[in-house]
């Protein structure tokens, strides 16, 4: 019936024009991402240079680094506080969802925690001011009265409750779902045989977790915590709204004089900024970019290292 085209079977697999175009488009998309990221770094540096090398207005500080240091301190300090609260809680929640909750409920409970990550940060800010700060304010007064001899709680306590501790609690709530989600995945990857062996030997559930789950997931917990730290460092709106900052360097948790953070400072000042101030703010953004880059690279490195020689 059909007179088979004799040349068809030899049709070259490569060098079809459409194939080349498609591959070129895909490759271009990938390269575009590299260019965009290079652009981020380049444009930020170009805009930041006038402030970094040149003089800045006298009322801001002696030079750029003297100006950016208190902000950097506030960024690191608030993120560290948030981590201290969030990491143990996140590990416990991940354990609850993977090893304690009833199987059928586990996925739904995990989804509830994920909802925390879906809520926009500006809403966390509103909630922090309206609910959290007034809620903790009497506690801060009590702390200042009774534990005031500790440098962390030295009086006077803030009258509004909008302290760095409140901001850190909001941050902790925000990074909690991120750390929990990663820990959950890691805990689920614990070799099933190890868990069953521990239980078969008579271990209680906690002993099984201590002997099988936690050692297996240790580096994963560290990596996910650092990833959460990166997120806490860059969080802007919640801190900008909740924190009543005055740009000091202080470890006091509950006072009315709080260090600001880089991101919050940019958000608060950029809308009205002009001239050299814009360059200064972009310069501080560059510092933040560098810090988060470092933190994220560290976390990726730990993850990559463990997936290679980890396994089973």
């Amino acid at each position: 019936m059909t007179t088979a085209a004799p040349a068809a079977p030899r049709a070259a697999v490569t060098n079809r024009p459409a194939d080349i175009v498609f591959k070129a488009v895909s490759t271009t998309a990938g390269v575009l991402i590299l260019i965009a990221l290079g652009g981020v770094a380049l444009f930020l540096v170009v805009q930041a240079v006038p402030a970094i090398i040149g003089p800045i207005p006298e009322e801001e500080g002696a030079n750029f680094w003297a100006w950016v240091w208190p902000l950097t301190f506030g960024t690191l300090w608030s993120a560290l506080l948030a981590m201290v609260m969030a990491v143990p809680l996140a590990v416990a929640i991940a354990l609850f969802i993977t090893h304690y909750a009833p199987r059928k409920l586990a996925q739904f409970l995990g989804y509830l925690i994920d909802l925390l990550a879906a809520i926009p940060s500006v809403i966390y800010g509103l909630w922090g001011i309206a609910v959290l700060a007034p809620f903790f304010q009497p506690g801060y007064i009590w702390l200042a009265q009774n534990l005031g001899w500790l440098p962390l709680f030295s009086p006077p306590a803030s009258g509004t409750g909008r302290t760095i501790l409140t901001a850190s609690i909001v941050l902790a709530v925000m990074v909690l779902p991120i750390i929990t989600a990663l820990c959950r995945e890691i805990f689920l990857q614990t070799p099933r045989l190890n868990e069953e062996a521990a239980l078969a030997l008579g271990a209680t559930r906690w002993e099984m977790i201590k002997m099988a789950v936690l050692p297996h997931g240790r580096s994963g917990i560290i990596a996910s915590s650092i990833l959460g730290l990166g997120r806490a460092l860059g969080e802007t709106m919640a801190v900008a709204m909740v924190l009543a900052s005055s740009g000091v360097v202080s470890f006091v948790l509950i006072g009315s004089q709080n260090p600001s953070t880089i991101a919050a400072n940019i958000a608060l000042r950029f809308p009205e900024a002009h001239g050299i101030t814009v360059n200064m703010l972009i310069g501080s953004g560059l510092v933040l970019f560098a810090i988060t880059l470092l933190v994220n690279a560290l976390s990726r490195w730990i993850i990559a290292k463990t997936t290679v020689d980890g396994g089973r």
Binding site: G30, L126, V131, P271, R300
Partner: protein, 360 residues
């Protein structure tokens, strides 16, 4: 060591001897909460303040942990006691994490209901001082900015994922994978600064435009799209690709007609989640899109209000009639939360109903 074996007690059943009955923890919890309530009542009576549920929870929880550990230690021994203590702590941690979620949603719904009316959705803030006004301009702005962000980032993201899964070998693919990871960690405010720096090159200092906001958002959106699409493409069985190629179908057609349709549901889910993630972003839009009280349909020129920035602006710089501004902020927050929830649930519905059946 000492008390694990208790044969001397009236052991009716040797299998359950030396164990707490299953109702014991619940009983202890109930008693602890009752004591907590009593203490809270005493404090409320003594100081004249309100009855505090916080004290009930806190005292009850601590009492429960202590009592269950002690009772278990006495009857079951140290190992079981530690197990029960940890179980209590772990469940407590989970309940603690639910408190902010519930508190936040209740607060937003209660406060947001005040201005959740027709005028709110049909008016802008032009010439509004004090009460009244609405968020129409902010909703339009959010939709336009997010739409443009999606137009920029969805093709780039999907094609990058195709490159990584179908073509990518060697140093370039490794570099792209690494830098997509790096992009995931860019703080949103830095993305806003980047868009500003980029647009300031062409339009000079103080530039504000909706498109700038879209560029900033797409910077945050691209890594999410790439990651989720990549995962989905990797799930497509190699058999399908090989069968198609063996039939003589060109590679690009194999990808377009076989691989992508198979992964479509997952890709749509990923894109929806990425949109849900960026639609609530405030910081970059505050910097590059700015705020205005007027309607602006043109993303290429002029300030453009968006919902998150509206909520922030109303709350942070209220006018004379403070409450009117706060109400608008909360209602905008409620609208925003509803949009995000609808997107999230929609993504899950798509993933659930349109996922290809695995067949086994």
């Amino acid at each position: 060591m000492t008390t694990t074996i208790a044969p001397s007690r009236t052991a009716q059943n040797p299998l359950t001897a030396g164990q707490l009955p299953p109702w014991a923890p619940w009983g202890l919890l109930g008693v602890s909460l009752l004591i907590g309530a009593a203490i809270a009542g005493l404090i409320a009576g003594a100081s004249g303040s309100d009855f505090s549920v916080v004290i009930v929870g806190l005292v009850g929880f601590v009492l429960y942990l202590v009592s269950v550990t002690v009772v278990s230690q006495l009857i079951e021994g140290g190992r079981k006691a530690a197990d029960r203590l940890v179980t209590g702590l772990v469940v407590g941690a989970f309940l603690l994490a639910l408190i902010p979620l519930i508190s936040l949603i209740v607060t937003v719904v209660v406060n947001g209901a005040a201005r959740f009316d027709l005028q709110f959705f049909t008016w802008t803030m032009r010439n509004i001082v004090g009460e009244g006004g609405g968020v129409l301009h902010a909703i339009v702005g959010t939709v336009l900015v997010t739409l443009w962000a999606a137009i920029i980032s969805v093709p780039v993201g999907i094609f990058t994922a195709i490159y990584l899964v179908e073509y990518g070998r060697g140093a370039l693919a490794k570099a792209i994978t690494f830098f997509v990871d790096v992009m995931t960690g860019i703080p949103s405010i830095v993305a806003g600064l980047f868009a500003y720096a980029l647009f300031a090159l062409f339009a000079g200092e103080g530039v504000r435009s909706g498109l700038g906001g879209a560029v900033a958002l797409s910077l945050l959106m691209i890594p999410t799209v790439v990651r989720s699409t990549e995962e989905m493409l990797k799930l497509v069985p190699n058999d399908l690709r090989e069968a198609s190629l063996a039939l003589g179908v060109p590679k690009w057609l194999t990808i377009a007609k076989v691989v992508l349709p198979t992964a479509l549901a997952g890709i749509v889910t990923g894109v929806t989640l990425a949109i849900a993630r960026v639609i609530g972003e405030t910081a970059p839009l505050l910097i590059i899109a700015g705020f205005t009280t007027n309607m602006n349909y043109n993303v290429f020129d002029g300030r453009m209000m968006t919902l998150p920035v509206f909520a922030y602006n109303q709350y942070i710089s209220p006018g004379v009639q403070e409450q009117a501004y706060f109400d608008r902020a909360w209602s905008a927050a409620l609208v925003l939360i509803l949009i995000v929830m609808i997107l999230n649930i929609g993504a899950r519905v798509i993933a659930h109903f349109f996922a290809p059946k695995s067949g086994r």
